[in-house]
């Protein structure tokens, strides 16, 4: 359970207030116009933006001041998810071996997660030798290996075409079952495909998560404006 208690995030002149909420395991979309603070919310959960006011808790424990690496969180960024100078296997192994001293046991686990995201046999390649979709899969493999309960996806598939993006969404839904997965998107169709619940952000305010399908069936004013209806 990820809990927001009276949270307000400040970055320069911009402030985002977050409505108190408690998110159980499952899928959560974060939707809103560009620049509304979607990434800021995820960055605060991951520990890159300080929580100015209030508390963020995981399973009742305050994580607001905890170091990013020590949080129960894995994050996939918009870009720069893979080090270009390391092989795919090394990039994935960093999740559990930050000194890159890779044991045979770790190597087996790396091969295993690569197979689960459909990158069997790609371990020795460098990121540049992979397509955009395959790079996204490699980043996902590292999330699997890290095996943390919360996974934050900050528009990681924005650079992919619609077909590939849908494929990746299905893969995420499949392999990340049983975790709390929060995904930022500005594309309503992605949100509907992703399902789960949705946090709508607008005008410096993040609303409570509501069922995605129900929200899009009967959109509130804010979402109507955003959708251009």
């Amino acid at each position: 359970m990820l809990t927001f208690e009276n949270v307000a995030l400040t970055q320069g002149a911009f402030t985002l207030s977050v409505e108190d909420d408690a998110l159980p395991f499952g899928r959560v979309c974060v939707v809103g116009p560009s620049g509304c603070g979607k990434s800021t919310l995820l960055s605060a959960i991951a520990g890159f933006v300080p929580v100015g006011q209030g508390r963020i808790l995981w399973e009742g424990r305050d994580i607001s001041g905890v170091d990013p690496a020590a949080r129960p969180v894995s994050m996939v960024f918009q870009d720069n998810n893979l080090f270009p100078h390391l092989s795919i296997a090394q990039n994935v192994a960093l999740a559990v071996e930050p000194r890159l001293a890779i044991s045979a046991a770790t190597q087996r686990r790396v091969d295993d997660v690569l197979a689960r995201v459909g990158l069997d046999g790609f371990g020795a390649r460098k990121p540049a030798a992979l397509s955009g979709g395959q790079q996204s899969r490699a980043a996902l493999a590292r999330v699997l290996l890290a095996d943390r309960p919360v996974v934050l996806l900050d528009e990681p598939f924005a650079a992919l075409g619609p077909g590939l993006r849908h494929e990746m969404l299905e893969l995420v839904k499949d392999v990340l079952k049983g975790k709390l997965v929060m995904m930022v998107t500005h594309d309503p169709s992605d949100a509907q495909r992703f399902g789960g619940s949705t946090i709508l952000i607008d005008a410096g305010h993040a609303a409570r998560a509501q069922d995605t399908a129900a929200m899009f069936a009967d959109p509130p004013e804010v979402l109507k404006t955003y959708l251009g209806q």
Binding site: A46, G47, F48, D67, P68, A69, A70, V73, S74, M75, F77, N80, N81, F83, P84, H85, L86, L94, A95, P98, R99, L100, K126, A128
Partner: protein
Amino acid sequence: MAQRAVAIVRFIPGFLTVALVLGLTLGTLVAVIVRAEGFGGLGPGEWSAIRFTLSQAVVSALVSVGFAIPVARALSRRDFWGRSFLITLMGAPFLLPVIVAILGLVAVFGRGGLLNAILASVGVEPASIYGFHGVVLAHVFFNLPLATRMILQGWLAIPAERFRLAASLNAPVGPLLEWPMLRRTVPGALLVIFLICLTSFAVALTLGGGPRATTVELSIYQAVLFDFDLGRAALLACVQFVFCALAAVLAYVASPPAGLGAGLDRVVTRWDGRWAGFDYLWIILAAAFLLIPLGMVLARGLQGLLLVDWPVLAAAWRSTWVALGSTALCVSMALALALWRSRWAQVIGVLPLATSSLVVGTGLFLILFPFVSPRQVALLVTLIINAALALPFAYRIILPAVRASLDDFGRLSAQLGLSGWARFRIVILPRIRRPLGFAAGVAAALSMGDLGVITLFAGEGQATLPLLMYRLMGAYQMDAAAGVGFILVTLSFALFWVFDRGGRVRADV
């Protein structure tokens, strides 16, 4: 906390770097000031040196930039066979040992040189390369290419769309696009070259001298070495420091010293300037001015190789290890400063630009003199000072890459718990290999060719290659000097190549 671990790794080397740079620049200056005992003693000789230093620097800067403008314009709009070679060559004088270039200039413009042979054949009095115009000539030789590259960068930075727009409007390109660009780039180029000419020592040492062509730096050298008048040397060192500090501040404000950057391969397509011949004339003149002296020194050097003896090889060995040690120190300091993201790091990183090796040398001489004979530590002192003087260049070369590696992968590194040494080894070092190799190459070549502080300290058996060359030239053994010069150039560029290449091989960026 990961952040704190990183901070500690940065802190210790950063602190050592700051201490060393401050000690070498301001510390030696304090030593000099303490010794100078008041500022009342500027005699006519000193005033004359001040006037000469300023006037030659002003004239050198004006002439270099004045000629660089048409050359840069020609290069920006003409594509021809050998263009990229010529532009690369324009980067070479920066790494070329000064003393080698001077030998080349003497071979062309000196008493028995090419130019006088031509003048004599038409019955004109031979011209001398020594004195004011010789110093300016040498400074233009070094700085014309630098100015050309800086201004060429300005030309190529004008977006192609603007030229297309101007052509479609039938508007004159000069006042619309070129003049504003020149107003931005030329002051910076002038100041950088003015600064370089203020601190240049080897040129004045070899081509200047005498009451009417002595720079402040040269006066310091003479005061220490010939008159052993440390008080006067100290006073002159203060004057020199004020000059350099002022010029460095001005240059830093006006524009960053660029000119080392890549990306000059593009040619601007333009719809004006039909008289290509005029452009090619400038290109040919500039190429001849650079290539003929270099060719002369290499040709002579090949013959001079026959005169190479054991002292030369010993000097080559000495120069090489001083250069390698200096490179290691310089690159470590540059890295420490680049990782330490603070305004102070930037100030420390450029501070050595405001000092001259003679001032630093005099200060160290004053500090060390009561304890050890300067000759005992001549090479060590040279190694350290060379590292400090190359620091501004190395720092500027690697800083953007270090910043990019921290900006692009800082979050990912923090997320994965990569901190301290692991972050440096796994994330930063592989991402900055190319600029690191380039910076090491520059530091090695600069140290290899240095003829500054070593002249104050070195005794008989401690000469580096440039000093040996200088002594041979002083004894009019020009062929032997050319042989040493050949070895010196070869070693300098070989070291540069090895480091630069080492950074590029199998670098996945």
